[in-house]
């Protein structure tokens, strides 16, 4: 009874804290400008099923894809077991599904165990790739102390949770064989029966191990849930809405700024009466000038670095890293959100995403080749943020590199990026 009360208190506390943090993330995302992504719902469900649920963009790197798939399927399916743990915790029952499901239960537990082992092995391999093999993707410049630790914490927590789960089952299995108390026979335990010989044989010790692991496992899961909003691991939730709200247009299509269209139309046609538009900046100087979708992407990014590893600028040693663009956007957004929490919603510090986080050198290194956009397994678009910031630098500050200002001048004067007269545009026809 006491156990049940403690369990319910912990469960409610964890749910409350998680809800509060998610609400905060949602508020931060909605600090962004509006953009309409409500069109074509059928297409959006389809792309979500394909890219988020089906993970089709992961396969470009097969090793990571296979192991990630184990962890992903493990996470989703083992959660069925967590459902049972929740019910047992609340009602003080033990393996409540075992009787009604009969032999199917044994099959399920067997399946969970195999998955748990695959998750465990995958996490160990992932840790080795990061810490022993030191893959370039995981050790580059923006992978400073926190992102590196964050990745390791996630993997360690998953390893501990799976170990606790399997140890719990092993103890349970041993108790079942002893026909001890309420530990009724509940199918086979293909993985944990290999651990079972390592455990003590006394019933008291086994119950202590089984209960200890049970509590560790469920408290661990609830704690991990509350770690998510602070971590790159938040992608397990946001990947789905983020892909749903993907850009469905061709990647080469950059948005036409409606605010500019108004002014250009007024310039070309003095009788044109522009629709009244709210006063806002051209482009983005800070995170609040980006769209909510850009900001959602920043929270969705799991820092895998596939974008950076295919970025032509980054490959050739330039400062630009698309992953850093996303990480900076999130870091700055969290900072803006914390400022609101501390000082109220009208507070502004003297920092901005531009210059304090992302430098101009990074922005001007981009070739707009879309390799980063193509590479992202969850359809994040760092290029859009880069373009918005270029727009701010060029249209609000007139601070384009001198050579680009020359190009603009040529285009204005003679309709070509070079200094050739428009009257000479057909000269090619006279040659050869």
């Amino acid at each position: 009874m006491v156990g049940q009360v403690i369990f319910i208190i912990i469960l409610l506390g964890a749910a409350y804290l998680f809800g509060r943090n998610v609400a905060k993330v949602r508020r931060n995302i909605l600090l962004g400008r509006d953009t309409d992504r409500s069109d074509r719902p059928a297409g959006r469900w389809a792309i979500m099923a394909k890219v988020a649920l089906g993970q089709t963009k992961m396969v470009k790197r097969p090793t990571a894809a296979v192991m990630h798939f184990f962890i992903y399927v493990g996470f989703v399916i083992i959660n069925l077991e967590v459902l049972e743990i929740m019910i047992d915790g609340i009602f003080g029952s033990h393996r409540i599904f075992s009787k009604p499901l009969g032999s199917l239960y044994g099959l399920l537990i067997g399946g969970f165990e195999v998955l748990a082992l695959l998750v465990l092995v995958s996490c160990v391999v992932f840790m080795a790739r990061r810490n022993i093999l030191k893959l370039k993707r995981f050790t580059s410049a923006e992978m400073t102390t926190w992102p590196k630790s964050d990745a390791n914490y996630i993997l360690v927590i998953e390893i501990l949770l799976m170990t606790a789960f399997l140890t719990m089952n092993a103890a349970d299995y041993k108790l079942q064989l002893l026909h001890f108390g309420h530990y009724a026979t509940a199918g086979s335990f293909p993985v944990s029966d290999m651990i079972a010989p390592l455990l003590p044989s006394g019933a008291g010790a086994l119950v202590a191990i089984e209960r200890g692991c049970w509590w560790f496992h469920i408290i661990g899961i609830l704690a991990f849930l509350n770690y998510l909003p602070y971590s790159k691991h938040f992608h397990i939730l946001l990947a789905f809405p983020n892909v749903y709200y993907s850009n469905l247009q061709p990647k080469g299509e950059f948005s036409n700024m409606a605010s500019v269209t108004n002014e250009v139309k007024a310039m070309l046609d003095p009788s044109f009466v522009p629709e009244p538009a709210g006063v806002s900046l051209f482009g983005a100087k800070d995170v609040t000038d980006l769209t909510w979708k850009n900001l959602m992407e920043a929270y969705t990014c799991t820092e895998c670095g596939r974008c950076t590893s295919v970025c032509p600028a980054n490959i050739t040693g330039k400062l630009l890293s698309p992953r850093k663009i996303m990480m900076d956007t999130r870091d700055r957004l969290v900072e803006v959100g914390n400022n609101i929490d501390k000082h109220g919603k009208d507070y502004t510090d003297d920092k901005t995403l531009l210059d304090n986080y992302i430098t101009r050198e990074e922005l001007w290194a981009c070739t707009t080749c879309n390799a980063c956009v193509e590479a992202c397994p969850v359809n994040i678009n760092p290029l859009e943020i880069i373009t918005e910031m270029r727009r701010y630098v060029v249209m609000e500050e007139s601070q384009a590199p001198a050579s680009l200002n020359n190009m603009f001048g040529n285009m204005e004067n003679n309709g070509a990026p070079w200094k050739y007269s428009q009257a000479d545009r057909l000269n090619w026809a006279e040659k050869e």
């Binding site: 061709p250 950059f254 500019v260 981009c366 026809a429």
Partner: protein
């Protein structure tokens, strides 16, 4: 050139409408190497007897480099003026000699009032091959030569056109070899996003030199592409690597013209 190049102004004066407008682009109009490709595209159009015209001195930059560089004002100014000209001539179908023009007119002009059926010249060549109007005969044989195709970003990733340029190479009976980074994984030549018009930011190497490693690995003697900016970057890359004797950079249109002896 042997044939005269029809302009829209002349056609309109004669009360005629061409089947397709050939949008030449700035590089195609002014860059010496790209001018040759422009003439080759005209040769192909002439060869198959397609009625076409160019805007000539009425054409102006699409605004692509301004837009990628963040100058949306200048882009929309260019776009609106061009759309006025195009709509004025009642243009329905456009073929471009440049993936950047292709992308901009196809994807970004509709929102500003200019909706046309836009194709890239490699798509035109593919459809002419499919229709049986264009073959690979009567000209230079490419048989047995190793050719690799460099995907221009604004044709490939930006618009998912991967097969058309390859179809133009496949009828040559050559050995088409793919680079390690090809199609949706293709590596940029380094010119996009207005980089063509500025010095690269500081780094360890040039992007086109990085791309040359992929090319050399294939052992190809011809790099084919379909973009005047890629053309410049790849040609420079070949020079940097001192491979001018072994590797040629050619546009799909040039290869088609040579294969047909036009």
């Amino acid at each position: 050139m042997e044939q005269t190049i029809p302009t829209m102004a002349q056609m309109a004066a004669e009360g005629k409408e061409p089947e397709i407008l050939f949008w030449v682009g700035c590089a195609g109009s002014f860059d010496e190497r790209a001018q040759k490709i422009t003439r080759d595209i005209c040769k192909i159009l002439h060869h198959v007897g397609m009625s076409y015209a160019v805007l000539g001195t009425e054409e102006s930059c699409t605004g692509d480099p301004a837009k990628r560089a963040g100058n949306e004002f200048l882009f929309q100014m260019q776009a609106m003026v061009n759309i006025e000209v195009l709509n004025g001539y009642n243009i329905k179908k456009i073929v471009t000699g440049c993936p950047h023009c292709f992308n901009t007119i196809r994807n970004e002009y509709p929102g500003l009032g200019g909706t046309y059926d836009v194709i890239h010249h490699t798509q035109l060549i593919q459809s002419l091959i499919d229709e049986g109007k264009l073959k690979a005969e009567g000209g230079e044989s490419f048989k047995g030569r190793k050719i690799t195709f460099h995907d221009p970003c604004y044709l490939g990733r930006a618009n998912n056109v991967y097969e058309a340029p390859r179809a133009a190479l496949e009828i040559l009976d050559t050995e088409l070899v793919e680079m390690k980074r090809c199609k949706s994984n293709g590596l940029c030549c380094g010119a996009g996003g207005a980089q063509m018009f500025k010095e690269p930011e500081p780094g360890k190497k040039e992007i086109n030199d990085e791309r040359m490693l992929d090319v050399i690995q294939t052992g190809a003697s011809i790099i084919a592409s379909g973009c005047p900016f890629c053309m410049t970057m790849l040609t420079d890359g070949v020079k940097h690597m001192e491979k001018e004797q072994e590797i040629m950079v050619m546009d799909i249109a040039e290869i088609t013209v040579r294969a047909n002896g036009l």
